[in-house]
């Protein structure tokens, strides 16, 4: 189970802020899942400058997702 959070422009694009995805075991699996349901969002999160945080730590590449993982998709940060 992955709790997915969207921020900034990604949230506006998807039309939701938070959603729980069942049956995903790694980040690549989650991406495929998203690509089927939300092709626009999938494209946006593949774009330059989008970062990923798993349980509030930035990650790169594929990572396995344990139960109750929080995944955040972070568009380019604007600063404060």
């Amino acid at each position: 189970m992955a709790r997915v959070l969207l921020f900034g422009a990604l949230r506006d694009l998807a039309g939701w802020r938070e959603q729980i995805f069942e049956g995903v075991s790694d980040l690549d699996g989650l991406r495929s899942h998203i690509a089927r349901l939300y092709p626009d969002l999938a494209e946006a999160i593949s774009g330059p400058g989008v970062q990923f945080a798993v349980d509030k730590a930035l990650v790169r590449g594929n990572v396995s997702l344990s139960a109750q993982t929080e995944i955040a998709f972070l568009p380019p940060m604007s600063g404060g």
Binding site: L5, F7, G8, A9, D12, A53, K56, A72, L74, P75, P76, M77, S78, G79, G80
Partner: protein, 153 residues
């Protein structure tokens, strides 16, 4: 806690008083307050988003870097999120040090990094609608001031 991310309006002066009173033997205290601007009516409201639990530790790490680099005896950061109206404070940074140059450079360093790198997402609401904004090129240029061997002269 030296960093607070909050939705509520705050008064920079009250924050400065509280910060200064808690310091035993600082020689100099520098504060910066960033205020939402009207831009001649172009901006009616700012919407600022943070990732709570991620944004604060990021700022804490930045504070620790500044504290070491500039021998600061105290640092305070307050950052608004949510809906911010023109004239309201968005960010407050205060630094304390034995000598004023350290306090100035520490505050300057913190602001340059907060303005360009900090995990916030900002949406500007104006008469022509709303748009998400990214850091200005000038903000990135400010950052290069701190990557040389020496701090700026």
């Amino acid at each position: 806690m030296s960093v607070t991310v909050q939705t509520g309006v705050f008064d920079a002066g009250a924050a400065l008083s509280a910060f200064t009173q808690a310091l035993p033997d600082a020689g100099g205290v520098v504060s910066f307050t960033g205020i939402a601007r009207m831009d001649n009516g172009k901006t009616q409201m700012l919407e600022l988003e943070a990732y709570l639990g991620f944004t604060e530790p990021w700022i804490e790490t930045l504070i620790e870097e500044a504290r070491t680099r500039f021998s600061l005896s105290g640092v305070r950061v307050i950052h608004r999120v949510g809906s911010i109206l023109p004239g309201e404070a968005i960010v407050f940074v205060a630094t304390a040090a034995a000598h004023r140059r350290q306090a100035f450079e520490g505050a300057d360093f913190l602001m340059d990094h907060l303005k360009s790198r900090a995990p916030f997402w900002k949406k500007e609401h104006g008469p022509d609608g709303a748009r998400w904004i990214e850091p200005r090129q000038a903000d990135y240029q400010d950052l290069t001031r701190w990557t040389r061997d020496q701090t700026p002269k």
